[in-house]
Symmetry: C2
Subunit: 210 residues, 2 copies
Amino acid sequence: MIKVLLYEDNPQLREGLTMLISGSEGFDVLAGFKNCNNVVEEVEAFNPDVILMDIDMPGVNGIEGLKRIRAGNTTVKILMLTVFDDNKNVFQAISNGANGYILKKTPPGKLLEYIAEAQTGGAPMTASIATQVLKMFSSMNNEKGEDYHLSDREKQVLQLLVDGFSYKMIASDMFIAIDTVRSHIKKIYEKLHVNSKSEAVAKAFKDRIV
Amino acid sequence: MIKVLLYEDNPQLREGLTMLISGSEGFDVLAGFKNCNNVVEEVEAFNPDVILMDIDMPGVNGIEGLKRIRAGNTTVKILMLTVFDDNKNVFQAISNGANGYILKKTPPGKLLEYIAEAQTGGAPMTASIATQVLKMFSSMNNEKGEDYHLSDREKQVLQLLVDGFSYKMIASDMFIAIDTVRSHIKKIYEKLHVNSKSEAVAKAFKDRIV
DNA sequence: AAAACGCTCACATTATCATGTGGTTGTTTG
DNA sequence: CAAACAACCACATGATAATGTGAGCGTTTT
């Protein structure tokens, strides 16, 4: 029996969901609330397996509720429920430890399937949401910048610069003369098209060279 | 009719998949290949809707194949297929524009469903993969670092340092004396627990202060 | 009202960096 | 084989950064 806790401000939808879920074999809605004002206490009291959490609620909304729950409970499964698949909320929800993100227009059969999936450690997502997540992910990691063709030795020097080493320290660390360090750094500046240590360090991060 | 192109080195599995997919209503396998050596030409020649791409293949593997296709074609849907749900490959695949990532143990019925889902713009993922993706996502954005309590002025100075400004430039940019810049920077170093400009710049990036 | 803090400025010394010019090896590649 | 490049080292000079000590002024917090 999967124990479900429900957060949804619309009374009709809350009723409907309760009937649907509790009326199904193996599912039980412990309680339903119209906002997250006392979410921490409620979750602790009912100890559910899965929480269905609407995002748009008056008072403490779903994202804030999610944060509050996760502050003290990292095991209960939380499924975010929303009418919109807008970027910001998806990002927020996932960053704060939601286990899934589904649209309200999800057909009843699918919804039960998703709840079960969440309970067993899956990450149910409506197709449009999953697509968004992948897009976000790839956009974050695709700005991998150009290849500046730094040699191995140059990369090594740059790495040490980033770590705050002085030329002298780099020289002794790499067992080379300080003048060699200088010439490497000069090369690095040329290749990165920068004119100072700070810019080189900044660029190393921006373009994920280190 | 969804046109499918297949890349899979195991001849039996390739045959099996071809029969399964082509034998189903609305699906057709245009061709199957045992590696990605000529993937770009093949994709261009057959113009499929969906590509099923095995990851572990001799010669040019699936990830590399994915990259090659995406270099010139961002519309064809690519479903990665693998036996392992290991972190690195998932990450690589998604970062390089895969539309979905499913395990080979996926039951036939589900597989067809996934292909159809990919074709209509969805992002089919095996549950375990979806969970991994969410984990990666939240771990990436949760290291938001401590708050170092930098004052507005200090943040401003740090920002300019990151941009490669010298003390002199910062002074004239902020209309303050160079000695004031110095004292700000000294404060910044103390608050960030660093001892050099480079480390401060590095930390500014790592902890997303700028 | 005293303490704490942010912001400002000054002066001085040493360490480090940026830049230039020049050179020797050894490997890779057209 | 010659050219290109990576990696190494040297000497020199001016610019910049790091560090220390000290201080005035205004606002916020206790």
